[in-house]
Symmetry: C2
Subunit: 188 residues, 2 copies
């Protein structure tokens, strides 16, 4: 079957609330060939900070992740608010979750979070010379702790799965490559 850009013939909302936007579409995947329903999750853009301090340590956050039923170390970050600048969102999330700020920021790149099922991209930013200047600003539903990891500690946490989010693992490796190359600062 040759490649074909699927056509949406109809669409209905299965769930649309504050937490989840799930659509069920009727889709033509090839001339005359229909899938109904095909489910799509509509998501905000996600943004994450790969923040190193002056001693090359990486700042990670730990929280309970109910979907998988585990505590994981992950990159600081989260949802981009509607209309919000991506870099501003990364800076906001870093400060809210950890109390850190960073002297210089660079865009790492963006890729699809799960393009078969979701419509959003995950955007990575490299933050250099980060330091903690305040207490985190967490809302009532957030329980997050943070700490600095040496490069060897990051690698150990990747190997044992406690740095457990595969999407964040990609941003970390792209950040290592970006650090090894000169590049423009983000945000002018």
């Amino acid at each position: 079957m040759p490649l074909f850009r699927w056509l949406r013939l109809a669409s209905r909302d299965v769930v649309r609330d504050r937490w989840v936007r799930l659509r069920a579409d009727c889709v033509e995947i090839a001339p005359g060939r229909i899938i109904d329903p095909y489910y799509v999750l509509e998501e905000n853009a996600w943004v994450h900070a790969v923040a190193f301090d002056a001693a090359d340590r990486l700042l990670l956050v730990r929280q309970y992740r109910y979907g998988a039923g585990v505590f994981t170390w992950e990159l600081p970050g989260g949802n981009v608010d509607p209309g919000e600048d991506l870099l501003a969102a990364a800076q906001r999330e870093l400060t809210e979750e950890t109390g850190a700020v960073a002297a210089t920021w660079r865009e790492i790149g963006s890729w699809y979070a799960n393009p078969a099922r979701q419509d959003n991209r995950i955007h990575g930013f490299l933050a250099a010379d980060a330091r903690i200047v305040a207490a985190p600003e967490l809302d009532a539903t957030e329980a997050i702790e943070s700490r600095w990891f040496t490069p060897a500690e990051v690698e150990a946490a990747i190997a044992d799965g406690t740095f457990g989010n595969v999407m964040h693992l990609a941003l970390y490796h792209r950040a290592l490559l970006a650090r090894a190359q000169p590049g423009p600062r983000a945000g002018g």
Copy 2:
């Protein structure tokens, strides 16, 4: 708020069919603090092959990804069948999608696909000396093409976003590290 392992107080199915298993749980996220609903997608394990040929070229597959509305190059792979061995699943998916087999296989590692929302892990396998020996075995809903990418072509496709799935990007980078280190073969 200190870290707390969330408790499931109740659970109902929002969708449970061949394509999607979405639960809405009533969850205690801290003593006396409730979120209802909290949505969880139940997923099969996912498995992917990072398959290089003898000339260090990487085998990628291209298909239409309706969630994001794009054609993307990705690693061959897919769902693990219930009870199926992970390595066997990676080998099956590689052959079905591309017609390739590989002489040696190694486990790269596994991480959570999206631990806040989903319960599954994505497992990567490094395949060496891969070669195409047959036609792909695609079902009626699959339209997939494949080709070999040189290392420079992979990097270009990452940079321009056409190698567009962030989860696969992580497995690719972990495979590059695994190739640089001696390690045991998978599957005895």
